[in-house]
């Protein structure tokens, strides 16, 4: 074997090792183990009894942000079936309509779908203290949202984070314009 092909061989091996190490890192780093997450006390004797995030979350539909779980898809597909109420008398309310807001700005308009929100939440979680129940009556501000107000009460804390612009800003403004009248 000449010197050049030997160097090539070593380079190939090194690249394969890096790739394998990278894959192993990616597989283990999606969810931190509790004893290594920086907030759980590894000296707590009960830590071994707690469920590890990877065990619970790995079987669920994969996302690219937040908990790395598409929570609404997990719910709608039946992968999880979280309880809707504890008290038998609680009325479980789900609403189906979509609301288009933030039209004709510099980004695509926002489609707010009531269904996935009300599958998780009750009307009273947002109405009337966060949002008035009247389309057009709410003054939304991206600055307030980034500051943890309005949508930002959940998005950026527990619901998908605010780095995912196009999940909300999803409706092209052009599609909202009325079709031009036919030429006379």
């Amino acid at each position: 074997m000449d010197r050049r092909s030997r160097i090539r061989g070593v380079r190939c091996l090194a690249a394969a090792a890096c790739l394998l190490a990278g894959l192993a890192w990616a597989a283990t780093s999606l969810w931190q183990r509790l004893e290594q997450d920086g907030i759980h006390d590894p000296k707590n004797p009960a830590i071994a009894l707690l469920q590890q995030p990877a065990e619970a979350l790995a079987p669920l539909p994969r996302d690219t942000a937040g908990n790395m779980v598409r929570w609404v898809a997990a719910l709608e597909s039946g992968a999880i079936n979280p309880r809707t109420n504890i008290l038998p008398e609680t009325e479980v309310r789900v609403r189906d309509d979509d609301i288009i807001v933030a039209k004709y700005g510099s980004l695509p308009a926002v489609k707010f779908p009531h269904r996935p929100h009300t599958l998780w939440l009750d009307c009273s979680n947002c109405h009337e203290h966060l949002f008035k129940s009247k389309a057009g009556a709410n003054r939304l501000s991206m600055m307030a949202i980034l500051n943890g107000e309005q949508c930002g009460v959940c998005h950026g804390a527990v619901a998908f984070p605010l780095t995912e612009c196009n999940r909300c800003h999803s409706v092209p403004n052009a599609s909202l314009l009325r079709a031009a009248p036919p030429p006379r």
Partner: protein, 121 residues
């Protein structure tokens, strides 16, 4: 020397330990009373309950720090005690399962929303 520099560079790039998205550190009274802070994992609970169960039926406000819950209220069946009663979930005598945080943690919601500033959660 080159190798050490490379290792140092890799260590700098490696991600810091990160709590799970939506984890809440609760320490209104725990540390002062000599027990570990509580870690509340949203991910664990939302597999089993929809948000509305705790934030509508149980009366938890949706702002970290806005809820003032006494251990005596939990034992009486309010707030966490609606489920943590030895029937739905473990009871109030299993201290270490909830009081599982490192001593001295800053309370609040953790777990790295990448857009964490300028917000208050």
């Amino acid at each position: 020397m080159k190798h050490i520099a490379l290792l140092l560079a890799l260590a700098a790039v490696a991600p810091a330990p990160m709590a799970e998205y939506g984890d809440v550190v609760i320490d209104k009274r725990s540390s002062a009373a000599g027990v570990r802070p509580v870690i509340f994992p949203h991910w664990f609970h939302r597999i089993r309950f929809r948000c509305k169960v705790c934030h509508h039926e149980l009366g938890f406000k949706m702002r970290a720090g806005a809820n003032d819950v006494l251990m005596s209220e939990i034992v009486e069946g309010k707030f966490c005690g609606m489920c943590h009663n030895d029937r739905v979930a473990w009871g109030g005598d299993r201290c270490d399962l909830c009081h599982s945080g490192k001593p001295g943690l800053k309370p609040g919601i953790v777990g790295g929303a990448q857009t964490s500033g300028p917000g208050r959660w």
